[in-house]
Symmetry: D2
Subunit: 345 residues, 4 copies
């Protein structure tokens, strides 16, 4: 059985495990205030060309999102995201439980456009009864999105410009950031992202870590007392060095990018086969998530042998499904899937 249903179905990349294992013979101060975390943070600041950035390591994505919300929003302020935003649909109302509304905009590909955001914030700015509605203060984007799409540098610059016009923070959820940074058509460096976002995070869990997300804060007003919030939300790992070790492994010698590259290339191979066989993509993409529309009859025959995720029924006989590759996906498993698709077509 080959598992393509997500990119977090194995523990971790061997280099991560080795790093953690080798770290088992010494003692550390707790709560992330240790030399390993400090070094990992320095590596990340360097990779981001952001010497002034604050870097914090948290365990998972939902807790990262809600902690950033708590840091950046006053009680009556809201996040603005796409209807498909992870914070809107897959975190059991974590942002609302922190007290904040998630306002949404329609999106067919998981992305927001600068123009959409401008329209929405212009409405807010012109609303004579604004105080009867929440006040949008943070734009949430994911990159890659939940639908595998990515932003270009030009798009991100335009979004940031709108945010600046309206005094709103730009927050990027980078749970799968490594895949975007390694896509063949990517033109956004970590330094660009650090320059264009007030805060973002570099996802570890979905890139081959046991767990862990690195929050990078460049906006000074968001830095204040961030560790109080991490602790209060239960997101401060006692043995914080475990996070530091994993991000050292990622950023010491480019592993983070190699993992992204590996997974993307295998996804590209699958996309090429699908295209060759005439199966349309549900959404375009160049990262590790492949969304394709396939006949239900074919999908039934895949089951038993390959796993994938059902996205939605597209008509009575077809469905959009997602195949994910990861650091752990082998070329042979993708070849096996491609051959199976060919044989069934």
């Amino acid at each position: 059985m080959y598992l393509f249903h997500n990119d977090y179905n194995m523990s971790c990349h061997p280099a991560i495990l080795e790093k953690v294992s080798r770290g088992n013979d010494r003692q550390y101060p707790g709560y992330g205030d240790d030399d390993v975390c400090h070094n990992a943070a320095a590596l990340i600041r360097n990779a981001c060309s952001a010497p002034e950035a604050d870097v914090h390591f948290l365990v998972g994505g939902t807790q990262t999102n809600l902690t950033v919300a708590a840091a950046g929003l006053r009680p009556y302020q809201a996040m603005l995201g796409a209807q498909t935003a992870h914070v809107n649909v897959h975190e059991t109302g974590a942002i609302e439980a922190t007290g904040h509304k998630v306002e949404t905009l329609p999106s067919s590909d998981g992305k927001l456009t600068a123009e959409q955001i401008r329209e929405r914030l212009t409405l807010q700015a012109n609303d004579a009864n604004a105080e009867h509605a929440v006040q949008i203060k943070m734009v949430y984007i994911s990159h890659p999105t939940e639908l595998g799409t990515t932003y270009t540098k030009k798009e991100l610059e335009a979004i940031r410009q709108v945010c600046d016009t309206f005094g709103v923070y730009l927050f990027m959820d980078g749970a799968r950031l490594g895949y975007a940074l390694s896509a063949w058509d990517n033109d956004l460096s970590l330094a660009d992202i650090a320059r264009l976002c007030h805060v973002f995070y570099i996802g570890g869990t979905k890139l081959g870590a046991l767990f862990g997300e690195a929050v990078v804060i460049t906006e000074p007003t968001l830095k204040t007392d961030f560790r109080y919030l991490i602790k209060q939300r239960g997101a401060m790992l006692a043995k914080g060095w475990l996070l530091g070790q994993q991000f050292e492994a990622f950023f010491e010698d480019g592993l983070y990018f190699r993992i992204g590259d590996h997974a993307n290339k295998l996804a590209d191979k699958l996309r090429a086969t699908l295209s060759h066989l005439g199966y349309p993509l549900f959404l375009p993409g160049t990262t590790n998530q492949v969304f394709a529309v396939l006949p239900d009859a074919l999908l039934e025959k895949l089951e038993g042998e390959f796993t994938f995720m059902l996205q939605e029924k597209t008509d009575t006989t077809h469905s959009a499904v997602r195949f994910c590759t990861s650091w752990a996906t082998t070329e042979e498993s993708v070849d096996a899937l491609c051959r199976k698709l060919e044989s069934l077509s």
Copy 2:
């Protein structure tokens, strides 16, 4: 200047003021635990044919909505309402500040249909990853809606049936309930509403009280410790008898219904004139809110003399506007408005 922009622009109906004034010569126990409140609650239970109902008096609508949310929802549970729902758009995120997401369904007339709710709850019931999303546990409807429309008995019965199927509470925001109960085409008595809703409130502020909303709880699980929540949310009036006095005035001799009838009849008169002049209604309705589409040129000429609320631009030369009548609207002011409309047409 005649004010038609809302139904809460004067203090209160003279009978209310008289009641409050006459109550100024005696002493009372505090926090709503007095004979006046007890009597007002009894009058309401009687009007609702709901001898087992709990009745609580709160000052305003937003605090009532958030207190009911706090009573009925566990932290991961959500309200479901129309996109136009007051809790969604005009309460500055009060429900989210209480920790709960407001899920919405599209609606062109402010109403939800049983079928829409069934579809949404069926999706939830069939979602294998349900615990990654909020759990809808309360359906929020307003009656009349924010757009002046109302539910029929058949519609409300259908909605309740769906709620029962899925184990979800039905909550009616009755900020303008008196207008619905007095509409010429109404077939829903207070007793019907008490039977069909788990909890609802009888609005006072918009019906001619100084302030005040009477929450009626028929569902036993929602009754427990409700007063703790009222107090915690700052919604327990120290001099609670002031609320009791006003609801006594409303329900001792049918004043609540007479006020609704008065305002509705004047609104009907305005609707008739608009129809006669060929101006379309933006939305149908039989209560005190008249939504009409009028030429911008005409509206400009009304300004200075009559107030109204802009709802939205409908095309480059027309707008939908709202005229509200109330207990305080005089027949002569409506006649003046009608004559003006005629003279401008």
Copy 3:
């Protein structure tokens, strides 16, 4: 039956009722944005010699306290108050429901001392693990306190100085402020209080209003978007002018101070009788709350004829009780109580 158990057991002072009644014949804009509220705010700014202050009118004390907490505290920040503080013991956890801890200091008379606060904040400032505890950011004092005691100008200046040293807000709950301002030994003017507190409120409910508290904000960082918070917490009265009318009545011609003076003088009379009869005060005081220690046998004989509040048992045969006077207390009722005490002694 003479009611001395609290100072909010009658509706309102006749001048308040007259003001509200006379305001019943005109129309107003909603939500406190009307000429009456603007005028009342100007009167208060003037009385406070604080032309730059923001003034907001809310309905009750608990909602005022929680709204100020929401305005001044980030999620991990706490209020510091006496163990007897109203926010700590009589608001059903309203501050905690807003997300904030109420840290307490011991106090036998309801007051905090500058020295206590300095010690506590010094501990916090020197705590190497500070981020594992809440961060005190607001000092809450009540004046008069829940135990009827008051601060002197020197004491308040010392507290403010400590607050400035540690960058902490000073918030005064003035639910009974009028009684403090009118006490014979008072040396704190409204202008002093406005200068020494970052935010405070002028209580109406307990001074003879139907309801209403006027928040005065002098600290700029607390002013931002305060109305969003009022609305979100359900504390924005639709017919806001009702609050404006009452505070106009209070501050147009000194009524607020005359009411305080009236009640204090009657309380002084009662204190004099108690002293003359040899009954000790439970706590000293010069405002409208009289805390006395009396034999249980005597108290039993008072019941039926006079109400009062049990504070606590002081030994097996005595109890501390509270008698409250108010705008509504007549000299003859106090005389009756004094004669009764004399006859029973």
Copy 4:
């Protein structure tokens, strides 16, 4: 340098690391719904003789405490704990941020007595104004306490009885539970604890896991939808099997108890030496935390060579300090410390 300042300053016990490492070659379903977690839960249910219990694995203690609070408390309900309770002093107000007050009782040794709890709950039950205060609904105890003390079976039975009398949940924070279970004077089995607590957790982080706490819920009303809360609070680990693997290692062959036993014996050795040298214990104890009162002059000489935690100054020349042992503490390091103490005495 020997580190005795806490029990979580090394990564993990070798058996844990081996288990995690060996699990790196296979794929798993996410979010703790995998065979490893199911097996670990079964092992724990078995160890607790609680076949009906629900077992959930969370990453850390603070998030566990706040998730249990969210599960068991309605908005106006509070936890009751000792003033020294971890939830009260070392979690940055996590419980309050979840909306709930932590009520405290004085305690010199970190424990609550059944009698204290009974008195407090009796006051609550008899309070005519109960709805103006929070309602205590959950008693929080830690075992061992933050001060290294433990409960006996008799004490725990008495506490549970009081909880039953008043309809209050009993929650045990077992962050260091393994040390209590392995103490030489322990008479409480896991089965006793499962029988006497409505909910408790078995701490992993402080017993030699990389991270992880296993919540055991025996009370049916606390079980409902617990996973929604875990997810909402950001406490659901994507690669949940990592938690399962570690608790499998703990409970497959008694490792959890052996680790406790190892650390306790070394702590006993240190206590014996201190006693022999005439240094008083600050608090009695039989688990891995040793609280001793030592001369400041001596402590200064220990520094550079041994770490420990300062608890408090006890007089001008002495301090109470804590030495912690753990799975990682070697006999030779304790011997070195003992010799050093001897040589300095």
